[in-house]
């Protein structure tokens, strides 16, 4: 058992600037130049990107090249200003200085991308659109894209919530009651491992609407890992906890609700994380086949019209949404399981 320690651990300094700030000394001029060096280069990289947009003629017909160049110059200016004035920007300045190597890499990558596609077509053009084409999708096709985003979010939320709730209740029942386990366990073993996408044809002729069919599939994909892990969590609760609660006068309902379930929560969250991952895959496939709006449908549509920039734009949005959903799950876990620093890192 560790001795009582402060609830917030002290973060170790990650760089020269943080180290100096940590020690409370102001940076001397040569050190600050060294530390700001990456910032200067990052700014230069973004300025290069802006220049690369303007220096040569576009090989295709894109309307946002100029706007992109201006944005790149603004970003370059922002980086150099933040680098020079880092001391006054406090935590934001420190955070930015941590990220300058990434900003540098990003600037170089974008320059290379711009040159390879729009200017010299080293990559075959329709399949590899330049940055300005993707920006054009966001500025011109925003209503349709947003529509699809909201449709996907609604579908995903509904299916995931139903699947997680059903999986959790099933898992607790199997873990707690032997008779429930007797009946449900074989069903779980036989039907659970079947990938939800294999149910696609069945779902679409059984359910009245494509929306309900897709919700069913997502719930199925979520439910299986949540059930298995909830069950494992409940079954692995140490008997000592039950002994303690029983000698203190706990009834069976208290044992389930206030002992078994809280003790099983770490496992439950692993199950929720796995369920989230598999539900994304089913969401995209289900949308490609059935629905009238949604990111999967948008991808399919873009591919059908050979509008590859739309496809990439949708992929970027999808990645942000999925990443955001996982982050939300882990934030919730960190809040609820404040007593246990997570074993699964995100």
């Amino acid at each position: 058992m560790s001795t009582y320690s402060a609830s917030k651990t002290v973060a170790l300094p990650q760089s020269v600037e943080e180290g100096a700030a940590f020690a409370g000394r102001p940076l001397s001029l040569p050190t600050s130049l060294l530390a700001g060096g990456t910032g200067v280069f990052a700014s230069l990289a973004w300025a290069c990107f802006g220049l690369s947009c303007l220096l040569w003629e576009d090989l295709g017909d894109w309307s946002r090249t100029h706007a992109l160049a201006i944005a790149a110059f603004i970003i370059a200016g922002g980086i150099i200003a933040a680098t020079a004035g880092g001391k006054w920007l406090g935590r934001f300045g420190a955070g930015l200085q941590l990220r300058t190597p990434w900003l540098l890499a990003l600037g170089l990558f974008l320059t290379l991308w711009e040159v390879a596609t729009a200017k010299f077509a080293w990559l075959p053009l329709p399949f590899f659109p330049p940055p300005q084409a993707i920006i054009e999708v966001y500025t011109d096709d925003l209503p349709k894209l947003l529509d699809s985003v909201f449709a996907s979010i609604k579908l995903q939320l509904g299916g995931y919530a139903i699947g997680a709730a059903a999986g959790f209740l099933t898992g607790v029942s199997i873990g707690w009651s032997r008779s429930v386990g007797y009946w449900v366990h074989p069903v779980l073993r036989f039907i659970g491992p079947l990938p939800a996408t294999a149910w696609l044809p069945f779902a679409f002729f059984t359910f009245p609407s494509s929306w309900s069919a897709s919700t069913f599939l997502i719930a199925l994909a979520t439910g299986f890992p949540v059930t298995v892990l909830t069950w494992s969590g409940v079954a692995s609760v140490s008997n000592a906890y039950y002994d303690v609660a029983r000698t203190l006068g706990a009834r069976p309902s208290f044992l389930v609700l206030k002992v078994a379930i809280p003790a099983a929560l770490p496992h439950v969250f692993v199950g929720l994380f796995m369920g989230l991952g598999s539900s994304f895959a089913v969401l995209v496939v289900a949308e490609m086949i059935g629905v009238k709006a949604g990111l999967g449908w948008y991808l399919q549509w873009a591919q059908g019209w050979a509008a590859y920039s739309n496809m990439y734009a949708a992929l970027i949005v999808m990645s942000l949404l999925c990443s955001g959903a996982i982050t939300l799950l882990f934030r919730t876990r960190d809040r609820l399981l404040v007593w246990q620093k997570g074993v699964v890192k995100w």
């Binding site: 058992m1 906890y241 404040v338």
Partner: protein
Amino acid sequence: MDIEAVSHAFDIDGVILPVLDDISFSVKPGEFVALLGPSGCGKSTLLRLVAGLEPPRSGNLREDGNPIAGPFPSRVVVFQDPTLFPWRTVWDNVALGLEAQGILKSQRHRVDAAIDLVGLSTFRNAYPHQLSGGMAQRVALARALVNDPRILILDEPLGKLDSLTRITMQAEIASLWQRSGFTTLLVTHDVEEAVFLANRVIVFSDRPARIKADIAVDRPYPRHRGDPILAELRRNILGLLGLDETW
């Protein structure tokens, strides 16, 4: 509390392992009884039977004339491992018994009193992983005492602590018992602890456990560790256990 002709055995892979052999003794209200014996002799099993966590294979256990049929908060146990619920703060852990019985709302002051009693008021909102071993065991003690039990059962509660903490905790347990006057059953393998705390020491044999001796310790409280009468008692008990060569 009466224990009559209790015998118990474990069934391990088809092999019956007898642990308790015809144990009988009575405990008067307010007594501090130490159950002393070598490791693995079955003392903890006897405690589990008294607590009501398991029924005995033969024999009867009675509390105030009523047979013990299951666990009940009048017979509270402090285990060797504090077994605090890691998802609850110290305050919530101590409140566990009252919450399980559904009377927490009207009795919140008892939780605060119990935490003050063990001297952990500044840690009421800490989580178990932030506590040291001694502090965790004190929280377990508070968790037991908040229920105002008639019988306090201690299953080698200080076994996992270092000897300095053990000395402090022994003094605390003794003063708590003196103040509240509940009946206490202490299982221990430490002869000095048994003789220092209890006013009656029951010595068990090796497995299957039989009662070897039932010794009254008549010294007044608060006791002194250097008391020669206690030292003599220790020597006698060690002799009973066959361990007095190095005296």
